[in-house]
Symmetry: C2
Subunit: 343 residues, 2 copies
């Protein structure tokens, strides 16, 4: 195994940290906007292996990244379970919400789950032969809690009050939903590895809104089960957990889920991450994505500060959140040079 | 000083923790909705001492709270500085945004700041004689960062990308804005104490979106200056800081701002707060506000767990965020009984 990204996840010694960036394929790249415009429907785009492979490869032609992540969306999972999912331009995802057991039972079915996702597996398969030899291929999914926020609220939420209340007031329904997501997400991830993914990342983007008890129940426990399920089939495939905004609960998440690496959002203090997390797992992060928009000396300085503190490893350079559309592509190039010690 | 709330803030020994709840006056109370309906405009309501006094006192007639917080809004400060602020039903606050130095200079003025806020000071004055003898009166303001998010983005934000980017890209403008807020917020708080407020709380509701460096610069440093300014005039008035969502940065905030007490949001693990914060300051919090909506055994259990872990003090029982409108008033009554050991 000579890919530096995989070595870092395994905790092997490193000199220069590997780098990739969340949403490195996407709307900040003019070539992405061009290929994206060929498909009216975003989910259709994700289910078109030719387009998804092209989107995944585009940033690798510009930048010397150590890893590429499958181009897809976390909401293919509810879509494959039979929930109606639409991406409405300017409004984000819109789902027909599921708020109780009756709606769950009448809407969701696991029957066609894997066959519905076959185009995604084809994409993974093609990517595994088409990406450069030194680049690792990352598969991914959303974490059950985060996927459930969209499934229950029907769209991106601001306060998460509705889903958090339902989790308190109808725990039987909510546990059933989470269990269903744990099982199917596990299958989805295992098949991605079968088809060529070399590492997996599970995005719990909205974990940060949970109270301590809810975080244990809806973020840590489901993730621990997913890790156990995947590792029972693929014990050597490293898994990155990203409980964005977990704050004081990062440490417990790291210790209790069995992950190999943890993604840090931009609020996590570096010295604390070094002293409390990096001794247990590889850490990945956590440059503020808006510094890559700003560019200039502030970007260089912060990238170097991160490497100074975490660079001895195990460490993967990334941001604390995805690249935003207004990011100038040349700032990404500059960042890669700084991380590689070429600037 | 025999008010148990003030004793807790000063770190004196306690048996039963004092309790008040953020937004204890507000839309969950039918009597509030009734008096609110007499005024079309929310800011006008805040500037009407008769109405604001009545709203502040309403929950005290129902519940045996140890403190009452002035009924007002954090956006009276930009309003008093000359920015146009409107509350639009169903849309929240709408401001004419200020995005650069030219807009700041042409819009904001400190000239009428204190006279504009005189109705608020009258409210404080009346409250200080009208609230029960055992109840403490809390004055408050928004923290500069949180107030600035509304001033710059023009409304409640979901991502805070615009203001965070401006803080990186135009630091001179942003520092000027924050400094102006530090100065005027300090004056505003000092005058509240002059008129009878016995403690102060500063709400930094959106501190949790800041990166480590931005948190130090825009949350900790401004708060440290406000505390210094207020204490130079009123050294014995306790100040509660509430950097909601500060995660790993709570500890630094507590140690570097000079506050007497810290408000904890519902994500903060209790044992951690006891071991790392309570030795330095009084802690206040942190029941999940949605558990008060849910009620029942889960509410009782979590309230008792909080008291078990933090109740030796110094501690003030509160929630991790404000009461939401869908809260049944009888659940609040039950909670007070549980905290008082009467249930």
């Amino acid at each position: 195994m000579s890919k530096t990204f995989l070595k870092a996840l395994k905790g092997e010694p490193q000199t220069t940290p590997p780098i990739w960036l969340m949403r490195q394929a996407g709307r900040y790249l003019p070539e992405y906007l061009k290929v994206r415009a060929t498909s009216k429907n975003f989910l259709h785009f994700c289910y078109s292996p030719g387009l998804a492979v092209e989107a995944t490869l585009q940033p690798l032609r510009r930048y010397d990244f150590d890893a590429a992540i499958l181009f897809s969306d976390i909401l293919v999972v509810p879509d494959a379970l039979g929930q109606k999912v639409e991406f409405v331009s300017g409004k984000g995802p819109q789902l027909e919400p599921i708020k109780n057991m009756a709606e769950l039972e009448s809407t969701l079915s696991t029957e066609n789950f894997m066959s519905h996702l076959d185009p995604v597996f084809q994409t993974v398969n093609r990517l595994s032969s088409e990406i450069p030899d030194s680049t690792a291929l990352i598969g991914f999914s959303g974490a059950p809690w985060t996927v459930a926020t969209y499934m229950v609220e029907g769209k991106g939420s601001k306060t998460y009050e509705e889903i958090r209340s339902i989790a308190y007031q109808d725990p039987e329904f909510f546990q059933t939903l989470i269990d269903m997501l744990v099982d199917n997400t596990s299958k989805y991830l295992i098949e991605q590895v079968n088809r060529g993914a070399e590492a997996l990342q599970v995005f719990d983007s909205w974990a940060g809104v949970l109270s301590e008890n809810q975080f244990i129940k809806w973020a840590i426990e489901p993730m621990a089960k997913i890790v156990e399920n995947v590792k029972s089939v693929h014990p050597d495939t490293p898994i990155i957990g990203f409980p964005r905004g977990a704050g004081q609960l990062y440490e417990r998440y790291v210790k209790e889920t069995g992950i190999d690496a943890v993604g840090l959002d931009h609020t996590v203090p570096l010295e604390w991450a070094r002293d409390h997390l990096q001794q247990h797992v590889c850490v990945q992060g956590n440059l503020d994505n808006l510094l890559v928009v700003a560019g200039g000396e502030a970007l260089d300085q912060e990238a170097r500060r991160i490497i100074d503190i975490l660079g001895e490893g195990p460490f993967v350079f990334n941001m604390g959140h995805g690249i935003v559309p207004q990011t100038p592509p040349e700032h990404v190039a500059r960042l890669v040079d700084v991380v590689r010690g070429k600037a």
